[in-house]
């Protein structure tokens, strides 16, 4: 089974909530689930879309064409019918679209959702739940599971509201033509449904983050929202900065004083944070920065996805600055790479940038319940203090890592320095200090390359030593590429694939091993200037074929499959 359903309407129609109820219900049945949404850029009004894909095989991406389009209004039919499969079905609201509407296709199912909500339920806003019940029944989800989900979602919002919504679900359920129920698997699913942003917040908390500072920006704002609802419960604190400079500054200050800290932003904010990233590199203060990328440059495409901040993350800013850049490939990865980001920041005392993008930040997936006991946490190396003065905060060590102290610890006093300095942190502009300290700081990245050489979190791969064609992707394109590779192989095309999650420093050993014997390299990425292909060229001397897309939307598996078959 592999079912792609799109809910489309106006923002304010409850489109997203209807889709979410079905998502949770289908996940409880045990199917793999993948969802994708777009928001209008204004608060009210404007079209919005929620797409869910459910499958018992794999659902790594939002899918290609639609099996079912659920249109809340006529405009949704007009703009989305083209994405339906030839035998796809349309579910529409008879109160909003007359049955005589010319674009209705053969397989159209209508019901008077608006008037039922208004006249029978006396709660016009419950229309979306009538629709959810209808669609649920139509695809074979049981009434009990739908009710469980609604109770879990709305249970805390009061008896009356819950009962009306349960009634709405039931009414919709009763209206739909009967369908064969989806068979329940023997073991019920223990998955949780998370967005990329939620997984990052939970990963940060698991890693020990206890201070978050941020300035609102799409598509990173819900990290701030989730942090506000969770972090205080763990004894943490939140600050909404007056801008991104202040936000990262506060995070760096808190980290200097011993609290693991994070900020999250999108491209315009990352630009402003650049000077603070340099401070974190120079003064060697651990900090985690999440960049949920959107289309750029400038204000760009606030609500649309892109992978065009890679250059900025890896190279942005003046001077030779140390940093680590990570890019999770899916929602589950967001959780684990965030924990890793904190561990690496603490270990190597530098900024770690976690690159996601609008699609990954806001899509939801079923994620296996994380095993909290198995999570390993790294803390910064603490200096052993003797009762003597002259603590050498920036001691030149063989691995580049100099033990730290925290304000409050006697005999550990030092000044964290933004200007070039000697081992004690005293400003020093001589030729010796700058070359010695630059080398010391960059030695940490050499150490990181060594210590992380075999780390399975660096890459995800489907190797094939006999395949001439190698595909290398990064970040959120993982799902679409994964699916394209499986389909290509099914069609008999030999292809190998690696998704890179450690972007700076690159996992060179793993990449070279993966590429051994490959004749062509294809690099799909969502930007105009082939930023990752260029990085691979600069660092590994690889001449890659680039597949780019700048529509503000993720790749579909089909787009990648076509390119694979073209170049293989």
């Amino acid at each position: 089974m592999d079912l792609t359903i799109r809910f489309a309407g106006e923002s304010g129609d409850g489109v997203i909530l209807a889709g979410e109820v079905l998502t949770y219900a289908i996940s409880r049945i045990g199917l793999k689930i993948f969802t994708f949404r777009t928001y209008p850029s204004s608060v009210r009004g404007g079209p919005c879309l929620y797409q869910l894909r459910a499958s018992d095989w794999h659902a790594y991406s939002q899918g290609d064409q639609l099996d079912i389009l659920v249109a809340f209004d006529t405009e949704a039919i007009a703009s989305h019918s083209k994405d339906l499969k030839p035998d796809g079905e349309l579910i529409f609201d008879e109160d909003r679209t007359p049955k005589t509407y010319s674009s209705l296709r053969k397989r159209s199912l209508g019901a008077p959702f608006t008037s039922i909500a208004k006249n029978e339920l006396r709660l016009p806003k419950a229309r979306n739940m009538v629709v959810a019940g209808y669609v649920g029944a139509h695809i074979g989800v049981s009434k009990e599971i739908l009710e469980e989900v609604v109770r879990n979602k709305l249970g805390s919002r009061g008896e009356e509201l819950l009962n009306t919504n349960l009634l709405a679900i039931n009414t919709g359920f009763g209206l739909a033509p009967k369908a064969t129920p989806i068979a329940l698997p023997k073991t019920p699913s223990n998955k949780i449904i998370l967005s990329g942003n939620q997984a990052i917040v939970l990963g940060a908390i698991a890693a020990g983050c206890r201070f978050y500072a941020g300035y609102p920006i799409t598509p990173a704002s819900d990290i701030l929202d989730s942090m506000v609802s969770l972090l205080p419960g763990f004894g943490g604190a939140i600050l909404q900065g007056e801008d991104e400079i202040a936000s990262l500054g506060a995070a760096i200050g808190a980290s200097y004083a011993g609290i693991k800290s994070m900020t999250a932003t999108s491209g315009p904010g990352l630009s402003l944070m650049t000077e603070m990233m340099g401070l974190s590199s120079m003064a060697e203060i651990p900090v985690v920065i999440v960049d949920a990328q959107r289309g750029g440059p400038s204000t760009g495409l606030p609500t649309k996805t892109e992978q065009s901040d890679l250059n900025h993350a890896v190279y942005g800013g003046h001077g030779d600055a140390t940093r680590i850049v990570l890019a999770p490939g899916n929602v589950e990865d967001c959780f684990h790479q965030t924990i890793r980001a904190f561990n690496l920041a603490e270990r190597y005392q530098l900024p770690v940038i976690l690159l996601t993008d609008q699609s990954l930040a806001q899509l939801t997936e079923g994620v296996p319940m994380p095993d909290l006991e198995s999570i390993k946490i790294t803390e910064r190396e603490k200096a052993e203090l003797a009762e003597i003065d002259g603590f050498r905060r920036y001691a030149v060590t063989h691995d580049g890592i100099s033990p730290m102290t925290l304000p409050g610890e006697a005999f550990g006093e030092y000044v964290a320095e933004s200007v070039e300095h000697d081992e004690k942190g005293r400003p020093s502009f001589g030729p010796h200090a700058h070359s010695e300290m630059s080398a010391k700081r960059f030695r940490k990245l050499t150490t990181a390359t060594k210590e992380l050489a075999e780390d399975p979190l660096n890459v995800m791969e489907l190797p094939d030593p006999d395949a001439d064609l190698a595909v290398i992707g990064w970040g959120s394109t993982q799902g679409a590429i994964h699916e394209a590779i499986l389909r290509a192989r099914k069609n008999g095309t030999h292809v190998r694939w690696l998704q890179c999650k450690l972007l700076n420093p690159l996992p060179e050993a793993q990449l070279s091993k993966f590429l051994k014997g490959a004749k062509k390299v294809l690099v799909p990425e969502l930007n105009y200037t082939s930023q990752f292909a260029n990085l691979l060229r600069a660092r590994l001397g690889i001449d890659a074929i680039s597949l780019t897309k700048t529509e503000g939307l993720p790749f579909t598996p089909d787009e990648i499959l076509r390119k694979i078959e073209e170049v293989a």
Partner: protein, 275 residues
């Protein structure tokens, strides 16, 4: 030049300021304030920006961060939130605090972190060798304003009161004991204390002769808890009043953001709500 800092806070470090720089006096006053309060070295964090006073923290055997131009306050606030027990002292020039970093002041004031912010106002950009700053007097000749400064200066104390700082004082390094007392009171105050220092720069804007004649100590008749009286005081045309101008008690930033009454959460239980 030799450090003129006394006591257990003095580090083996000598400042590189011009002879006669007001910063020496301020340095001495800050040390005296620490002494008066009996602070332990490890309890103090000095946060400086970029300018002649940027290396201020190195003079002290305390913790510190020498940050970026204009960014003292965000970093100081992070430190305060992380550990409210620390004594956080920010130090910045007038350009650092009110040109490039001016956007942070109102937001810091409304959050009221327990930070003492010493603004060394020499009415010039000293470090970059004499360009006009936001407090350079109208008509003052600098290398960028050979015909005299064409822009009106801002009034730091007026802005501070408008922004809502919870403690405001003004001092002059020509009166080091008085200044030390103001700084000590600023540190003692639980909240955001801004100390406006009228700081002579003998190289680019020498006010050593001007200020002793122009300034007047605020007397006991002034009630610093009275906002209107504070406004009236700084509005004086004849003299520049020095002393404690305004004082108010409000919750600090750490008290605001660290809500301890909240229900404790368990990550395992939080995760299970996403089913």
């Amino acid at each position: 030049m030799q450090s003129n800092l006394v006591g257990e806070y003095r580090n083996d470090y000598n400042p590189n300021w011009c002879p006669g720089c007001g910063d020496y006096g301020v340095l001495r006053s800050v040390g005296m304030a620490f002494q008066e309060l009996g602070l332990r070295n490890e309890q103090i964090v000095m946060v400086s920006g970029i300018g002649c006073n940027g290396r201020f923290p190195h003079n002290f055997k305390t913790y510190g961060i020498h940050t970026l131009h204009g960014r003292v306050l965000p970093i100081a606030q992070g430190i305060h939130i992380a550990n409210p027990e620390l004594c956080v002292v920010g130090i910045a020039g007038d350009g650092d605090a009110f040109a490039i970093g001016g956007g942070h002041v109102p937001h810091t004031a409304r959050r009221n972190p327990d930070i003492t912010y010493i603004v060394l106002d020499n009415g010039i950009y000293g470090q970059t060798k004499g360009q006009p700053s936001p407090t350079t007097p109208l008509g003052y000749k600098t290398k960028v304003t050979p015909e005299g400064n064409q822009e009106d200066p801002i009034d730091i104390t007026r802005l501070a009161l408008a922004y809502g700082v919870s403690f405001l004082a003004r001092g002059f390094p020509g009166k080091p004991n008085h200044l030390a007392h103001l700084i000590a009171e600023g540190i003692r105050h639980r909240g955001f204390a801004l100390i406006h220092v009228l700081n002579p720069c003998p190289t680019f804007h020498d006010t050593w002769k001007e200020y002793p004649a122009k300034t007047v100590e605020i007397g006991p008749e002034h009630d610093p808890n009275d906002y209107d009286a504070a406004l009236g005081l700084i509005g004086r045309q004849d003299k520049i009043p020095i002393g404690i101008i305004y004082k108010q008690t409000r919750p600090t930033l750490a008290e605001r953001v660290r809500v301890t009454s909240l229900q404790k959460l368990e990550l395992k239980q939080v995760l299970s709500t996403f089913r």
